[in-house]
């Protein structure tokens, strides 16, 4: 049985539809990310779970109990906001104790619990500081501790990393995952950053225009995008126009050449497809007749260990990006003609 169940949740603002009948199930202890561009409805969905927004129709069911009509204060959920949500007039410890204080717990129990969670987020020695004395990352840790202090039924994270520096962001991301696994709290995490979502989650829910574009484990979202939106949004991908040439042999016509793609097997000849290549599956070689496609290297971007080369395919303006070890890439000059190859199992085909 699912722990949290969103059942056909719909929401409109005026004539604008923000969510259309969204249904998601979370298992107990699961870490699920809501991923999508801004305006896709992910934040609204989170706010509906928290109780700050009311759905027009549909239900929010927690442990078999319909909580759709329940006030936010009664839902026992811990939420971490984007930024600046700490009460500025309270120390870190007082912030963490707040949820316990309004529950009228006795002072000793409050302090004990506050110390516990502050230790969990690694801020025990900053307990007496006011928010403005803490860095952005530390503030978000306190916010996390505050949400965890009430032992929430559900942890809700609303882009908690988006206001932080890149380095702190990665650090805190990993820490959130560690803490979530230690505490086993079921977590719903909203983000527009696909790397964040893929790296941290048990499952990722990709949203687009108020509907679910795909729900699955990170590897599946990346490796087997269900539609062109997910393919484009998650990770980098080269997208070439293709037509299935031979359904039994696994051949596709791309830019006038017949190339191998095992996923074409079983597709009717003549089907128009998006021919998708992830950069890390592309291999460049010296130009020869055996090459699947040919092209000219037009740009190079250095990422340290890896370098990506942009290749314009001969016979058009379409490009393919290849990611390779920087040492190998150094041997290929801009302007040189190369062959573009791949393992026939690599390309993903989506019916156009």
């Amino acid at each position: 049985m699912s722990y949290l169940q969103l059942d056909a949740v719909a929401k409109h603002y005026g004539s604008r539809t923000v969510l259309r009948d969204v249904s998601i199930d979370l298992k107990a202890g699961e870490f699920v990310s809501l991923l999508g561009p801004s305006g896709c409805g992910k934040t609204t969905l989170l706010r509906i779970v928290a109780g700050f927004d009311q759905p027009d129709s549909g239900r929010v069911v927690l442990e078999g109990r319909d909580i759709s009509g329940l006030a936010p204060a009664k839902r026992q959920m811990g939420m971490v906001f984007q930024a600046y949500s700490l009460f500025p007039n309270m120390t870190a410890q007082e912030n963490v104790q707040f949820g316990l204080r309004v529950r009228r717990q006795d002072a000793a129990a409050q302090q004990k619990r506050a110390r516990e969670v502050l230790e969990l987020v690694g801020l025990a020695e900053h307990a007496q500081k006011y928010p403005h004395q803490l860095s952005g990352g530390q503030q978000q840790r306190v916010a996390l501790a505050r949400a965890l202090a009430i032992s929430p039924a559900l942890l809700l994270l609303d882009e908690p990393l988006s206001a932080l520096d890149a380095k702190v962001r990665v650090q805190l991301r990993d820490e959130i995952r560690r803490i979530q696994q230690e505490t086993g709290v079921t977590t719903l995490f909203v983000t527009h950053d696909q790397e964040e979502a893929l790296s941290i989650s048990d499952r990722v829910v990709v949203m687009h225009d108020g509907v679910l574009a795909q729900v699955g484990e990170p590897a599946a979202i990346y490796g087997e995008p269900a539609n062109i939106f997910v393919a484009r949004f998650v990770g980098a991908v080269a997208e070439l126009p293709g037509v299935v040439a031979d359904g039994s042999g696994g051949m596709v016509t791309v830019l006038g050449r017949q190339v191998a793609a095992s996923r074409a097997r079983g597709m009717a000849a003549g089907t128009r497809v998006y021919f998708l290549l992830r950069p890390e599956t592309v291999r460049l070689g010296p130009p020869d007749a055996a090459g699947m496609l040919h092209g000219t290297v037009i740009a190079r971007t250095f990422f340290g260990a890896l370098t990506s080369l942009k290749v314009e395919i001969t016979g058009g303006t379409d490009c393919v990006t290849a990611a390779m070890a920087s040492g190998d890439a150094a041997n290929i000059a801009i302007g040189s003609t190369v062959s573009v190859n791949w393992d026939p199992d690599s390309p993903r085909l989506l019916v156009a």
């Binding site: 929401k11 603002y13 700050f52 927004d53 009311q54």
Partner: protein, 261 residues
């Protein structure tokens, strides 16, 4: 956002507060039209128009307002300019001086001035003398407006740019700084007008017939005419404040309060 917001009590509360503010104005308006018994008309207004003293006092207050604005700006613009450009460390002093008029009530200041300055006659004997304390009354608001305005300018760059073109200090202030401060200056000027037009303390103690003193004088003889003048005074304040708000559109519409309590 979508939870129903219950605005019944706020609405009612604002309604009651609104009534409190509107009723005196309406009642004053009705009162100014009262001609005794059940008769209503414009008699009070007609009588006022033919009072030379009204026009004299109004003219005096307007003149004082303009003089106050000019003196205030001449004294303050160079100081605030230099404060922002070169001597930031004097800011605490300025902040202190600008709250002083708040700590020293007008009635106390006038007491001090009457004991300190008893002559010469050309100085304390004419209504122009009122400009002296009025500048002090308007000081906090003029200072604030100028300071906010100059902070918004990049004074250092402006100054260096104009100096590299060979401009002297006076040219710089008159041709560069002041034009760039139009909004702040107009705001300060209108606020000064509102303050001076209603100022009563100094004028009454020092025995000059300004507009506010005239209203008080009329009030002792004709209540309906006083009501009519009250509305006129409200109208002047209203115009000055609308001016402040409109000029404030560009920057931050800083509405302040001076006034004659």
């Amino acid at each position: 956002m979508s939870r129903p917001t219950h605005n019944l009590i706020p609405g009612l509360g604002l309604g009651v507060i609104g009534l409190y503010f509107v009723i005196p104005l309406v009642a004053t308006g009705a009162f100014s039209l009262w001609e005794g018994g059940d008769k209503y008309g414009l008699a009070a207004y007609a009588a006022l128009i033919h009072q030379p003293k009204l026009w004299q006092s109004l003219g005096l207050s307007v003149r004082l307002a303009i003089q106050t604005i000019l003196v205030g700006l001449v004294v303050l613009v160079p100081a605030v300019f230099w404060l922002n450009l070169r001597v930031q460390r004097l800011r605490p002093l300025f902040d202190f001086l600008s709250v002083l008029p708040f700590v020293v009530p007008p009635i106390a200041l006038v007491a001090g001035m009457t004991t300190l300055y008893t002559g010469p006659d050309w100085f304390v004997g004419t209504a122009n003398y009122l400009v002296v304390p009025y500048v002090i009354l308007a000081l906090p608001y003029t200072y604030r407006a100028l300071d906010v305005g100059m902070r918004a300018l990049d004074l250092k760059t402006l100054t260096e740019a104009s100096q590299s073109l060979g401009a002297g200090w006076m040219t710089l202030i008159l041709r560069v700084v002041v034009p760039n401060l139009t909004t702040a200056l107009i705001g300060a000027a209108l606020l000064t007008i509102a303050i001076v037009m209603g100022e009563f303390t100094f004028a009454n103690i020092l025995l000059f017939n300004t507009f506010a003193v005239y209203i008080d004088y009329v009030g002792q003889t004709s209540a309906t005419q006083a009501a009519a003048l009250t509305l006129l005074s409200f109208l002047i304040t209203w115009l000055a404040m609308l001016g402040v708000l409109f000029t404030g559109r560009g920057g931050r519409g800083q509405v302040q309060i001076g006034g004659a309590r």
